[in-house]
Amino acid sequence: MIEARSLTKRYGQTAAVSNLSFTIRPGMVTGFLGPNGAGKTTTMRMILGLDYPTAGSVTIGGVPYARLAYPMREVGALLEARAVHGGRTARSTLLSLAQTNDISRRRVDEVLGIVGLTDVAGKRSKGFSLGMSQRLGIAAALLGDPQILMFDEPVNGLDPEGIVWIRTFMRSLAAEGRTVLVSSHLMSEMENTADHLIVIGRGHLIADCSMAEFIARSSGQAVLVRTPQRDILATAVAAAGGTVSNSGDELAVRGLTEDQVAELAFANGVRVHHLAPTKVSLEQAFMELTADSVDYHAELPASREPAQQSTEARR
C-alpha cells in the first residue's frame, strides 16, 4: 500500500507535482497516467525517497521509504531500463544490488530465470536490446520478492512481443496479491493492463477511479446503426427519448442502449445492416479530461491518432 498525502514538489516557481493525495492498493494493477511532463516520474521518485517533497509526504505501508529495513524486500522499482553500467554483466549487476539487501546469489539466478535472461547472464549489458534491458530492470525489481512493484513507462520503445510479455507479467504479479503501479503516457496500454487509474496532468490529480468509471465519465457513448430506412428509425428513436445524429453513412444514436435500438428497429420493421456501440477508448476519455493540462499543445491533425503519433515522435 502506497499512500501519498498532499504531495508537492516545486522547482523554483514551477510546481512539478501539486498537492497530490492518493492510495495505491494491493491486488490490482494501478495505472499512473498523464501526458509527458505531468509529474509521473517525479512522483515515483518521491515515493522511492530519491527526490524530497517540498511539502506533504508519501509512505510505504505507513513508513517513509528511507526507513524501510530492507527496501528491496518491500518495493521493487524499474525507473529507467538503460540505467545500468553497460560494462557489467547481467549477473554482476543483479548481484551488486542483491548484496546491499543481504539477498542470496541463488535468488539472482532465480530472477534471471523468471525474466528469461539465464542464457545471457554472463554477457555485458552494453549489448542488450531495449527489451532485454527492460527484463534486466524487472529482474532487479523482483530480487527481493517485494509486495510492491513500480514500473515507470515499462513498455516505452518495446516491440509488440515485449509489450505483451510485460503486460501479462504485471497482471500475474497483481493476481498474486501484489501492489503494482505502472506509469504510462500511452492510454491504449493502460486499457489492457490497469484495473484502477490515477490520472494526473500538470502535477494535479485529475482522476482516481476504476477503469470502467473513468471511461463511463467521458461523454458521448453512442450506438452506430447502418440502415436504408434512416428516417423511420430516427423518428422512432426520438419518440423513445434518444437523440440522433449523422455519422458518415451511419446513424449515431445517443441516450439508448444497443438492445433498445435493436428492439426499436425490429418493432418498426426497419432493416438493419449493422449495429454496434462505439467504444469510447481510454484515449478519448483521457484527451477530454486532460485537454487543459497538456503543457505543450501540438497542432492536432484532422484525424486524431494521438497515441500512434506520440509513440512515433518519441523514436
Partner: protein
C-alpha cells in the same frame, strides 16, 4: 518467456530487527568495482606507466653516469627519481578512477538504483569510498615499492643506488603511495560534488597541476608562502630524500601529506553533505 510467478522462497531477513546496512553495501561496491574492465585497465596503466618512467629515468641516468659532473652526481636523488613517475602519472590515472567510482553512476543514472536499494545515502557514499580506498591502497603501495626496486636495480652500476635502510628512503616510498591514494579520494569526493565525469577530472587536474603553475605568477615571496598550502604543488618536493624537502618553503613530507589530506577531507565531506541533501 511465460510470466512465471515469483513464488520462490522469499529471502528472509533473518531476524526482524535487522536491516540492510554497511556490510552488504561494502560487498555490493566491491562487486561493482571488480566487475567492470575499466578498473583493471586503469590500474594496469597506472602500474605500467610508473614502471616505464622509473626504467627510463634510472636507466638513462645510469647510462650517463660516467659523463655527469660531481655536482650533478651529488644532487641526484635515486629514490625520488624512481618513484616520481608513480606520483606524477599515478595521480592522473587514479584521479580518473576515483571520479568514475561515483560519476559513472550519475552518467548511467544507476545512482538512482543504488540509492533506491540502499536509501541511507551516507552508507552508500561511505561504502564506495572505503572500497575504492582499499583498491587504491592495494595497488599504490606495491606499485610504489615495485618502481623503487626497479629503479635501484637499474642504478646498481652507478653505486649510487639507495637502500630502504637509508634515511628518508622508506618515507619517500610510502609517501608516494599515500599521495596517490589521496588523489583518488580527492577526485572521488569532487565527483560526488560535481556529478559529472569530465567536470570532475578537469577540476581535479586543475587543482593538482594547474594551480601550482598559476601560483608561479605570484611575486616570489607570496609564492613561497603559498606553495606549501596548495594541493599537489608540493608532491615532488615532499618525496625528496635529502633531509628537509628540496624546497625549503615546504612543510615536512608528513606535513605536506597532512595538508593534502586536509583538502581531501574537506572535499569528501562536501560530497557527503551534498549527496544527502540533493535530489538524486
Amino acid at each position: 518467456m511465460t510470466a512465471v510467478t515469483t513464488q520462490e522462497v522469499r529471502p528472509q531477513a533473518g531476524t526482524a530487527h535487522r536491516r540492510a546496512g554497511l556490510p552488504g553495501t561494502l560487498r555490493s561496491e566491491l562487486t561493482k568495482i571488480i566487475s567492470v574492465r575499466s578498473t583493471y585497465w586503469a590500474l594496469a596503466l597506472l602500474v605500467l606507466a610508473s614502471v616505464v618512467w622509473s626504467i627510463a629515468f634510472c636507466a638513462g641516468t645510469a647510462a650517463h653516469w660516467a659523463h655527469m659532473s660531481a655536482q650533478s652526481r651529488a644532487g641526484f636523488d635515486p629514490t625520488q627519481s624512481s618513484v616520481i613517475g608513480l606520483v606524477l602519472l599515478g595521480q592522473l590515472v587514479i584521479a580518473v578512477l576515483g571520479a568514475l567510482t561515483i560519476t559513472a553512476e550519475y552518467s548511467t543514472q544507476a545512482i538512482r538504483t543504488s540509492l533506491t536499494v540502499m536509501p541511507r545515502r551516507g552508507v552508500v557514499y561511505g561504502a564506495k569510498a572505503a572500497v575504492f580506498a582499499a583498491v587504491a591502497v592495494a595497488v599504490a603501495f606495491p606499485a610504489s615499492f615495485l618502481v623503487w626496486f626497479v629503479g635501484q636495480r637499474l642504478l646498481a652500476s652507478t653505486h649510487a643506488e639507495a637502500t630502504l635502510g637509508q634515511p628518508n628512503v622508506l618515507r619517500a616510498v610510502l609517501a608516494s603511495a599515500i599521495f596517490v591514494v589521496l588523489c583518488g579520494l580527492f577526485s572521488y569526493g569532487l565527483g560526488a560534488v560535481l556529478r559529472s565525469t569530465a567536470g570532475t577530472i578537469t577540476t581535479a587536474y586543475g587543482f593538482m597541476f594547474l594551480l601550482p603553475q598559476l601560483a608561479r605568477a605570484l611575486p616570489t615571496s607570496w609564492y613561497n608562502d603559498a606553495i606549501r598550502w596548495l594541493p599537489g604543488g608540493q608532491f615532488d618536493g615532499a618525496i625528496s630524500t635529502s633531509g628537509p624537502p628540496v624546497s625549503s618553503h615546504l612543510f615536512s613530507t608528513w606535513g605536506e601529506i597532512a595538508v593534502f589530506a586536509g583538502y581531501t577531507a574537506v572535499v569528501l565531506i562536501a560530497g557527503a553533505v551534498l549527496l544527502r541533501r540533493r535530489d538524486a
